[in-house]
């Protein structure tokens, strides 16, 4: 039963994904929207605006720094969560 359910869900998802793949922009196409709308500004201006040659670091910590703050929050939540789940003695 469980196997059948898994198979069914998997096949439906796969069908949907395969159905849409032919219309995706080709793999590695430099003119796809993903490469032309927002990202060129990062590549061309990151070093000039933030003095950080590693564009990924610049975008991670500055342009989208709020996301990274959320990411730190996630790590913090995981740490506190494990303390709460597993630690038996109360820290004093």
């Amino acid at each position: 039963m469980r196997q059948f359910l898994g198979f069914l869900v998997t096949m439906v998802t796969a069908a949907l994904l395969i159905y849409s793949t032919p219309e995706m922009p080709g793999w590695g196409d430099p003119n796809s929207p993903a490469s032309t709308h927002v990202s060129p500004r990062y590549i061309e201006k990151a070093d000039e605006e933030t003095h950080t040659p590693n564009i990924v670091t610049a975008v991670l910590a500055d342009y989208r720094g709020y996301d990274t703050m959320g990411e730190t929050m996630v790590v913090f939540v995981a740490g506190i969560g494990c303390i709460m789940l597993l630690r038996r003695r109360q820290h004093k």
Partner: protein, 146 residues
């Protein structure tokens, strides 16, 4: 999980390796502006070196040096550095996390101020990630018996 086992080879190797791993972690952190890497990767490396320390020696001895309180302080402290830099930007008149206004208190232009802001933030991330991953590992390895 981790008891004292007195294995000379493992202990010597760990003694040798740990400083190098930690130095590499700092390298990854501070050169994150110029090469792959940054706070998160550096933090994981620091955590890996501490986990190696715990595995090679024993858990109790390590947790004595490295109390839970210190761990939680690091845990929250790193996040606090991040949030603090963000809030400092508000105090200086910018939006949240707008590092360019840091140039008002630092002797650099707005672009360099952004680079320094990124560095500060990455240090916060490194501390949090290192402390958190070690804390999770200690909890998993001790199974609530510490």
């Amino acid at each position: 999980m981790i008891r004292r086992n007195d294995d000379l080879i493992i202990e010597t190797l760990a003694r040798l390796l740990i400083p190098f791993i930690q130095a590499f972690a700092l390298y990854v952190l501070f050169l994150g502006h110029y090469s792959p890497g940054g706070g998160f990767q550096g933090g994981v490396l620091v955590a890996a070196s501490l986990i190696l320390l715990i595995i090679a020696f024993d858990l109790e001895k390590t947790t004595k040096r490295f109390s839970e309180k210190f761990n939680v302080i690091c845990n929250g402290g790193g996040v606090f550095i991040y949030a603090g830099i963000g809030l400092l930007c508000i105090l200086l008149g910018g939006n949240l996390l707008d590092y360019s206004v840091l140039s008002k208190i630092l002797p650099v232009g707005p672009e360099e101020a952004r680079a320094l802001g990124i560095l500060g933030v990455e240090i916060g991330v490194e501390i949090t990630v290192a402390a958190c991953l070690v804390s999770i590992f200690i909890d998993l390895a001790a199974n609530g018996e510490n």
